[in-house]
Amino acid sequence: MRGVFYVLSCLAVMGLAWWAYRENYATQESLREVGRLQAEIAWLRESLAVQRAEWAYLNRPARLAALVALNFDRLQLLPMEAGQFGAIGQIAYPPIGGALGRSVTLSSDGEGAP
């Protein structure tokens, strides 16, 4: 009886040791993974900041003004004026024909076709 008890506790100790050994390595692996992910997050944040800076740089007012002047023939953009404010009542309703009406028809066609 006592022998069986000794053998069982020996086996239990061995099992627990093996489990602790495995857990240790799994933890280390997870920590490495976390470190890798954090480095990746930092790298992505950095590139996000670069993208935002680039977006702001490309949309700086001076450049947009230059582009507007350059493409005046096609776009005909002018500074916004007081006369461009309108009242709701000035908008025709329901829209008859026009771009809006056509686009509605097209989208419903697309829905019907599989």
């Binding site: 920590l31 944040r45 900041a49 977006w55 702001a56 007012p61 404010f85």
Partner: protein, 594 residues
């Protein structure tokens, strides 16, 4: 344990037989027993002391070993703890009120050399000079071959292309350190507000960014505080409006041959500055160094709207009129004696032209009569005038969030005498900045509550303490509107925005004393729409000269006013102001009823 008896029978009997005292045997045995006990106790105590000593040695050794490990090991962040947005090492961004980026960080690299690791210093110096043309190869080689030198900074910032080119030199002694760099993507827009940033303490793997001027410096601690997370600093500026105002003001400055110009566009209720321009300006990405000689106000770094304190002239008359109305000394139609010249001691106060013997208070403002304003000031008195101007915040440095603001104090007369009071009433003898003026006008027209200017977006409406009554504010608004419809600022009419405003033309003081006859500061302080004020605009031109007529014209009505009108025409739609039909003047209705 075997106890030895104190009186062993054998020895007692034999002692008795010898006729000795058996008690001596007992004493002897007692002594021996005590000695044995003492020895045992000592051994035990010594053992305990030894144990204690060992325990201390082990404990101290453990602490020492741990300290050595901590001292010598590379620092590592706790990796197991999850890091969210909280850890963001870099300086916070600055954005405008709509979230457009005004200042952000960019990671670049700094280049340094470790000469003792170099393979071929001569070739490295030549190749570096080819990549970075601003470096001198001879000087580089001298630095690389200097005996005992182990470290040389070569360049603080490299572009990615330059970095690649330096990599391709293939010299192991050339190394890169990461550098966060402050970037202002919009260039010179809002340059004076942002200020600029430079490097503080510098190491190989990082450098600290420090604000050198403007908001960057005033909010340096906040911007660097990691506790704010990734939250940006939100300014009250609107980038689109700022760019439009700067463009129009720059064109106006060139057209009017002015040497400098400034504009302040402020929300009349909250004091939020929507645009603040000072020309000439600079690019904060490469902030120029301050002038070492000459007048610092000639430098592009000088912020005319905040640091520039000028005698702003007739624009200040509104404050005098408002106080006279508030005190009940006059009404808008009270006749004021404007017979000139007004003589006070050896001083004579004149008007631009003779306006006849009498003008109503409204007309004193509309036609801008110095004499009429000075007469109102005489009724008010110096003490009350000073208290009123202080209440408006015109006699103290601005509380605005710029590092330059506390240094830009208004210039007051040494003694607030009668004549000082009279000249201050029409804007001479008291020097204030355009931003002061804008805040003062906002206070006058917004219903009479004090406005303190701010460059940060305010979360909600904040009304200051009351300075003048609602009724006085309404009268002032009507006077300003009439100045535009039939007075000195007739060129300020902008369809749909009912501009009201007051012009001011002040001769510039000579450095030696006295005034220039042909150099002026032309100012126009405007409010729009005058019937329901939303924004206050102050445009100042330094030494303008309008040359379309037969002789050059310098008055604000011909110089600052048309520029301001163009600014309003461009900026008001961008601010989302719908053009509105002006309601019929209320006083006209009253007159009809009478």
């Amino acid at each position: 344990m075997i106890r030895r008896p104190l009186r062993p029978l054998a020895r007692i009997l034999s002692a008795r037989a010898r006729g000795e005292n058996p008690d001596a045997i007992e004493r002897e045995n007692r002594r021996l027993r005590q000695e044995a006990q003492r020895d045992r106790a000592r051994v035990l105590a010594e053992g305990r002391l030894l144990m204690l000593g060992v325990a201390f040695v082990v404990a101290f050794a453990a602490i020492g070993a741990r300290m050595t490990v901590i001292a010598t090991a590379e620092a590592a962040e706790p990796r197991a703890a999850a890091s969210g947005d909280a850890i963001e090492a870099s300086r916070a961004d600055i954005v405008d009120r709509n979230g457009r980026v005004l200042a952000t960080n960019l990671v670049t690299h700094a280049l340094y050399a470790q000469p003792h690791q170099m393979v071929d210093p001569a070739r490295a110096a030549r190749a570096l000079a080819a990549v970075l043309p601003d470096l001198d190869p001879a000087a580089l080689l001298r630095q690389f071959t200097e005996p005992g030198r182990r470290f040389v900074w070569i360049k603080r910032r490299l572009s990615p292309e330059q970095m690649q080119a330096v990599h391709e030199i293939g010299e192991p002694g050339l190394l890169f350190g990461p550098r966060a760099m402050r970037l202002y993507p919009n260039g010179a827009e809002a340059a004076h507000v942002l200020g600029g940033a430079g490097f503080g303490r510098e190491g190989v793997s990082a450098a600290e960014i420090r604000g050198t001027a403007g908001v960057e410096r005033a909010w340096d601690a906040w911007l660097r505080d990691p506790a704010n997370g990734a939250a940006p600093l939100v300014l009250s500026l609107d980038l689109g409006v700022q760019a439009a105002v700067r463009e129009v003001l720059g064109a106006g400055m060139r057209l009017m041959n002015a040497k400098g110009a400034s504009a302040v566009l402020m929300d009349a209720m909250s004091g939020e500055v929507a645009a603040l321009v000072s020309l000439p300006d600079f690019d904060p990405n490469g902030r120029p160094s301050p002038l070492v000689e000459g007048d610092p106000s000639d430098s592009p770094l000088f912020n005319r709207a905040v640091q520039g304190v000028y005698e702003l002239g007739s624009v200040s008359k509104v404050f005098t009129a408002a106080q006279a109305l508030e005190l009940g000394l006059v009404g808008p139609e009270t006749r004021i004696n404007t017979q000139g010249p007004l003589t006070w001691g050896r001083f004579r106060i004149r008007d631009f032209r003779n306006y006849g013997p009498h003008l109503s208070v409204t007309d004193v403002i509309v036609k801008s009569s110095n004499i009429g304003t000075a007469r109102m000031a005489m009724q008010i008195g110096a003490e009350r005038q000073q208290a009123f101007l202080r209440g408006l915040g015109l006699l103290d440095a601005l509380p605005v969030e710029l590092s330059e603001a506390p240094g830009a104090r208004p210039l007051l007369p040494r003694q607030w005498s009668e004549i000082a009071m009279m000249t201050i009433s029409y804007g001479h003898g008291l020097s204030i900045s355009p931003l002061h003026l804008a805040a003062g006008y906002a206070t006058m027209v917004n219903g009479g509550t004090r406005v303190s200017p701010t460059l940060l977006r305010r979360p909600g409406p904040a009304r200051g303490e009351r300075v003048v009554s609602e009724a006085t504010s309404a009268i002032i608004r009507r006077m300003l509107r009439e100045t535009v419809t039939r007075g000195t600022a007739s060129l300020a009419e902008v369809q749909g925005y009912a501009v009201g405003g007051k012009t001011g033309t002040a001769d510039k003081p000579r450095p030696g004393g006295g005034y220039y006859s042909d150099r002026v500061i032309a100012t126009f302080a405007a409010v729009f729409p005058a019937h329901a004020p939303r924004y206050v605009l102050v445009v100042t031109l330094d030494e303008p000269m309008e040359t379309s007529g037969r002789e050059p014209r310098r008055t604000a009505g011909w110089t600052a006013v048309p520029v301001a009108a163009e600014v309003i025409r461009r900026a008001a739609p961008l601010l989302g102001l719908r053009p509105a039909v002006e309601p019929a003047a209320a006083d006209a209705l009253i007159r009809v009823r009478n």
